[in-house]
Amino acid sequence: MSKGNFTRRSMLMASATTGAALAMPTIFSSAVWADGHTGFTNAPGDSSVTLGFNVPQTGAYADEGADELRAFRLAVAHLNGEGDGGMLNTFSSTVLDGTGIMGRRVEYVTGDTQTASDAARSSARSMIERDGAIMISGGSSSGVAVAVQSLCQDAGVIFMAGLTHANDTTGKDMRANGFRHFFNTEMTGRALAPILEGLYGTDRKVYHLTADYNWGWSQERSIRAYTEGLGWETINSVLTPVGAGDFSSYLTPVANSGADVLILNHYGGDMVNSLTQAVQFGLRDMQANGKNFEIVVPLFSRLMARGAGSAIANIHGSTNWHWSLQDAGSQAFVRSFGTEYGFPPSQAAHTCYVQTLLYADAVTRGGSFNPCAVVEALEGFEFDGMGNGPTLYRADDHQCFKDVLVVRGKENPENEYDLLEIVEVTPRADVTYPVDHPDFAEGQLGTCNPGA
């Protein structure tokens, strides 16, 4: 060890002792930064602001995570005035002018959720603690969203949820610092039921296969409530382990059960496998109770549909957004995204892009990065031009209310992106549910937490 080193170290030690002594009377709490101390966690400096994008980079949802990240990069570019501006040009609020957020250049850090609540929280924490991220966004599952949302609440930063579809995110587990743009299983039920009635009538017998975890149960409960409301009878409902791979032993009993509709409350790899295998087992070609046997996949995703190949033909489901929408906002986004990356964005990419812009907009309108100001600006915010028609961020539960798409798997897709066609755009009024809906009842927002 050289002398120079030694000197420096002893200097550090000395300062450390002083620092500790100063800290003794009142231990500072988490966000006492030397500069820019304005009373909330990770207050940005004058030149830049850091956002944290927490997406699945490994694990089964890695492709979806990669698409989310593309959208985030695009959103950051547009906020900083690079590229063609995308939805900034169609957004009904016009305070964003391509100079970053409140004059600060937007920078971002990324983390890997691994689609596991532990890992997701840990990477979110490190982005907050190490990189000074003031907002966390992204994710591809409800478990992760709920876990990260409660972390952000405790840490005093804003959470703009990515793809999360279970009711709990803005129901039982809602938090004041968290916001969800994506739709939920209740909305899926409301949007899908009338279409199913029109297609398959009111006299149907349903068999549910449900992924055995929170989202699966949420999805089943919602769709069941609405199909039973149509007069459909639920014959059976079987829970399948997540990642089962081979669903044959769950699918074979369906044919002889007397059911004529199979609802697959599966997502991701489970959906790909259960749907393809259901088709392999001939359920699609079967007649039951004198009717064509039908399969319904309540939550459709184009990225997943690709994995199922031709099995998706004529299968109905719901989705948050699809690139073939013709409104100006969607078109602008697809154009920017497609030009940048060469293929159209997924619904996950869309929701992440929109969430980033909404956050930036709320900060600007609220005039502060303080999470409480952001919460105030977002609560009850009405906007348009983001691809789903007029949209409301409801103050009571921080859920966005907007149009929901009912889609169908195309029979003869033109190319590998053209897999779904929009059957119906269910208007916002039809999917809006009351604040005191029993499936959402237990939750409490609490109050916004700016950290300290």
């Binding site: 060890m1 550090l12 300062s15 450390a16 620092g19 500790a20 800290a23 231990i27 500072f28 709490s29 988490s30 006492v32 930064w33 030397a34 980079q57 490994t58 890695a62 995570g65 850090v109 990324t110 983390g111 890997d112 691994q114 596991a116 609540s117 532990d118 890992a119 929280r121 840990s122 990477s123 924490r125 490190s126 982005m127 603690e129 190490r130 599952s141 409800s142 478990g143 709920v146 876990a147 409660s150 972390l151 609440q153 405790d154 840490a155 709990d168 587990d173 004041a176 055995d212 975890y213 929170n214 989202w215 829970l239 382990p241 997540v242 237990e442 409490q444 609490g446 109050t447 937490n449």
Partner: protein
Amino acid sequence: MLGLKKADLRLFLIVVGLVVFAPFLLNPFPESVGMAQFNAGYPDLMQKLVIFGIFAVGYNILFGLTGYLSFGHAAFLGVGSYSGVWMMKLLTMNVIPALIVSVIAAGLFSLLIGYVSLRRTGIYFSILTLAFAQMCYSLAYSVLTPITGGETGLTLSLSDPRILGAAQAADGNIPAAHIFGLGMGESAELVLGDWSFTFNVGYYLSGIVMLVAFYLAIRLFRSPFGLMLRAIKSNQTRMSYTGLNPRPYALAAFVISGMYAGLAGGLMVAMDPLAGAERMLWTASGEVVLMTILGGAGTLIGPILGAGVIVYLESIISTINSSVLHGWFNALPDWLENTLVNIMYPFVGSGWHLTLGLVFMLVVIFLPGGIVEGGKRIAGVFKRNRAEPSGDIKKSAEPGE
């Protein structure tokens, strides 16, 4: 002093020093340079480094001493976490009861699993533990959701019936975990020029617990009990014909390591009150095996080093993305910058698993004794060359065994 031999005492003091000064040691780069990416001195990572240290030190008592390769220790960590959160939900946000109950619950659970699994040895034992852990994971993820929170994980809510303490803090939020009023999230910040060092309450609590756990492990290693555990690994037949019953010894080691795992699990939720089912997955058990072997199974300091390296790699490498890489090399000519970024990109960010896989293939192939053996070899080279005995690796490695 402390009932330790000189070499052990020195090792212990080194670890004490590392723990105390970690906020400095882990933040060697000033904030503004690109290398700051490699800084690890923030609470989440520092806490994880010591918590996984505890986990690995405990696992080493089983695997390193008795040679029983358990693939199910993550289950005990999970049980510790769940019981910790439940204590915080039901009793108090003070972490002490949570930690105590975590250790007890994990101990009881490991007694049960160990009693059954230890009826077999070799890979049969490994598969039994794996089977139990996978069952725990699957059930926790699905059927046991009311107890475990399922996919989301078990977390606190505003309506918890906390007996000693309020369900909500004054500001209407969930109260924070604390130790006698000192919040786990509270930190003191020390800014020196371009450096900033964070001293976090949670980290120092974990650190102290880790030091106690490590101290107990040293005592155990040097005790007659430790001798017997090594005898199990060495020759079980001889052991029983020497009048010793290997089963209760192995079971005791199993339970002790299970309690260490439970303690680690309890600390995890004390630092961040959410217990996810994934921490019970068999790959999580595999990770602690790796930590132990990477550091050097059967050595004192090895597991701590192994845990440090793996946790650090996971946290740091996985957050390096392409823009960070471009940031590092942007001084270079474009073609060189792009080439370097393209070479490195598959190994960082989402590719960190690849790096992890490679690292431990290399370690197992070339350094079966782990980092400690590597340190010894380096030390050996230095001694042969009669060079100044210096270097941190040597210091920490030398008294390992």
